[in-house]
Subunit: 383 residues, 2 copies
């Protein structure tokens, strides 16, 4: 289902020869309307890839006809020539649809610091537009994979409309960022302003709270396109909740497939004086390489988590904080609590709960363990 | 030589049974004067181990008679009982020397969240005081090792005085912190105020700029003790320079022996608008797990380094920055530069130079690669 679940959208994924193994590597998602309302959020990294610089201009117009995405090259740190490549890709796709390049979003993922093989890419993009079809969602989701072992798709039905989505991203999932490439579609009838506010609200609590390895990508993009094909102008609260569910679903799929991971870790901070405090403390734990190694070793080494919390500015007293691993309160009032041997870390899902004992706010950040396979994957291959 | 190189100091390292293999695990460094001037810097982690809480009070007095150190247990997150343990250790050592506990510094390293085996520790501390001798420096340096594969010692001769030092710390080397346990001794005649300002200046550019794995310890302590036994009141500039050399030497030994590391990486930022900018940018690169994995794989993946710089607030224009790996300028003006295949990463020492092209300030942060052995070491064992 994916991005073609809502009416008004066609998609395709083709092989353009950018991946050495000949797998699909170029995707398009086309919005046939009647509306083209759209919004996007991008990486906050100051080193932005050329397609991000291009797509920011497109998104500012509030209308998107199509998104063209490629794996096999990030087109980042490629200078003015790289920007021309992103522009040329948009022009090529626009020409194939007899439309305006100013409404074509471009997304790229892969190695930083290399130019894209433009003839192959343009040829693939042209073929993708030609073959874009109502059942093309799965192929598109497949084409944007890099080290992702599975395609990530999601969809939800609302009252008279549908939301669909696809995402890629298995490493370099980043703090405080849109994180990875994600296309969300809906046949609901929304204005561009609604798309913008609803997408920002949904990503703030989902993709922005995934922190796989603390590294911020140059290419992260999340776009929402609304075709209006259902004829339904949705109730905003319901639509926002469903959109958040789709984003949350995709975000968790990213964590579940994070490079080399064996555990999905929910770092849940409760009893915080503010939501910002909760996020800051949760993110600090999610970024502790020592703690993440311990979880990989199925060792409930709560001291490493508490040491991470101690580096933050969150309001808490060290001798008041409590900490549970998978429901066992191994740390009470900053000191040794229940028997750590009672903690069962054999499953994939791990929940760390930090009670700051300083208020009633809470937040959860999703991460994964740090494994020998992650190191292997990121040392043996350029990506 | 180590901490007993300067006159006026005795030291010892004994086995108290805290390490399961029976190796030395308790050390003392005793200052026999005539002066007891001293200063110390501690972890900035808000979750401070009991010995840090104790030793902060001692150091505030500006006089230290002896330091007692143990491996095999951090005595962190142990609550009021843990603080009593640290206090009792100081009292025991003081009694053995017929001196005041208020001038006994206590340092611990090892697993967080477990009480120390006090009878064994006190017995060991007593024997250490008894056997403390002018040639005991190497044994003391050996006793404070945890996952350190070698003891770290250093000494320098000044004009009429000597500075000696020992350190431990192989993981959890931390940002913006004193980092690890380190005892520096000198027979120069200094006031406590001089010790304090000189030690802060020296650690700011050495230990504070070692960032092995981005994790901040609960126990980091660096202490400087001045016996005055040489009778020489040193010229401050010369002493400060030598002290910085000793700290730099020890800091680099820590990086060279960092857990599981195969590369020592100097992240050198030049052309910065301010020294703070240079440190912030260098630290961001030093904390990029993706970049550190790439170095382990001997892959000059400069895009990952540049992406890390992009997350900082340092003044720079993405299309002006230059980056070299081991002297090869693989990135020029934010885009592809010289041929990356010219970079030789086969040696242990790696230098990454980031030119922000925004000013004339510079700073270097020392780190190491992220390896499968690091993950193994920190997942297979509690520490």
């Amino acid at each position: 289902m994916s991005v073609t679940a809502p009416n008004g959208f066609r998609a395709a994924g083709v092989s353009a020869g950018l991946k050495p193994d000949g797998a699909r590597d170029v995707a398009v998602v086309v919005n046939d309307g009647p509306s083209r309302a759209a919004a996007a959020v991008f990486t906050r990294n100051r080193v932005k890839a050329a397609p991000v610089l291009w797509s920011q201009q497109v998104a500012a117009g509030g209308r998107v006809r199509a998104v063209v995405l490629n794996a096999g090259g990030a087109n980042a740190c490629t200078g003015p020539a790289g920007f021309q490549d992103a522009h040329a890709t948009a022009e090529h796709v626009a020409a194939a649809m007899e439309d305006s390049a100013g409404e074509i979003l471009v997304c790229s993922t892969g190695l930083i610091g290399e130019r894209l093989p433009m003839p192959a890419l343009l040829d693939g993009a042209g073929r993708a537009v030609e073959s874009a079809a109502r059942d093309g969602g799965p192929d598109a989701a497949d084409a944007i994979r890099t080290t992702d072992t599975v395609a990530k798709i999601s969809f939800k039905r609302g009252s008279g409309y549908t939301i669909g989505g696809m995402a890629k991203g298995a490493g370099m999932l980043a703090p405080e960022l849109a994180t990875m490439l994600c296309v969300v579609t809906t046949d609901a009838d929304l204005t561009a302003a609604q798309c913008d506010s609803l997408l920002r609200a949904a990503t703030r609590r989902t993709f922005d709270r995934v922190d796989s390895d603390g590294c911020a990508s140059t290419n992260d993009t999340v776009v929402l396109m609304a075709s209006g094909a259902s004829g339904t102008a949705p109730e905003e609260a319901e639509f926002g909740a469903l959109l958040t569910e789709v984003c949350d679903d995709l975000a968790r799929q990213l964590v579940a497939d994070a490079e080399g991971s064996t555990k999905s870790i929910a770092v849940e901070v409760v009893g915080a004086a503010s939501e910002d405090d909760a996020v800051e403390a949760a993110r600090a734990v999610a970024r502790s390489t020592l703690f993440k190694c311990a979880v990989y070793g199925e060792d409930p080494n709560w001291g490493r988590a508490l040491a991470a919390v101690g580096t933050t500015r969150a309001v808490f007293e060290p001798d008041e904080v409590n900490l549970a691993v998978n429901g066992v309160w191994v740390c009470r009032r900053g000191a040794v609590g229940d028997d750590r041997s009672k903690v069962d870390l054999s499953g994939r899902d791990v929940t760390v709960t930090v009670d700051l004992a300083a208020g009633s706010e809470a937040a959860t950040v999703w991460t994964n363990d740090l494994t020998t396979a992650y190191v292997h994957e990121n040392s043996a291959y350029s990506s």
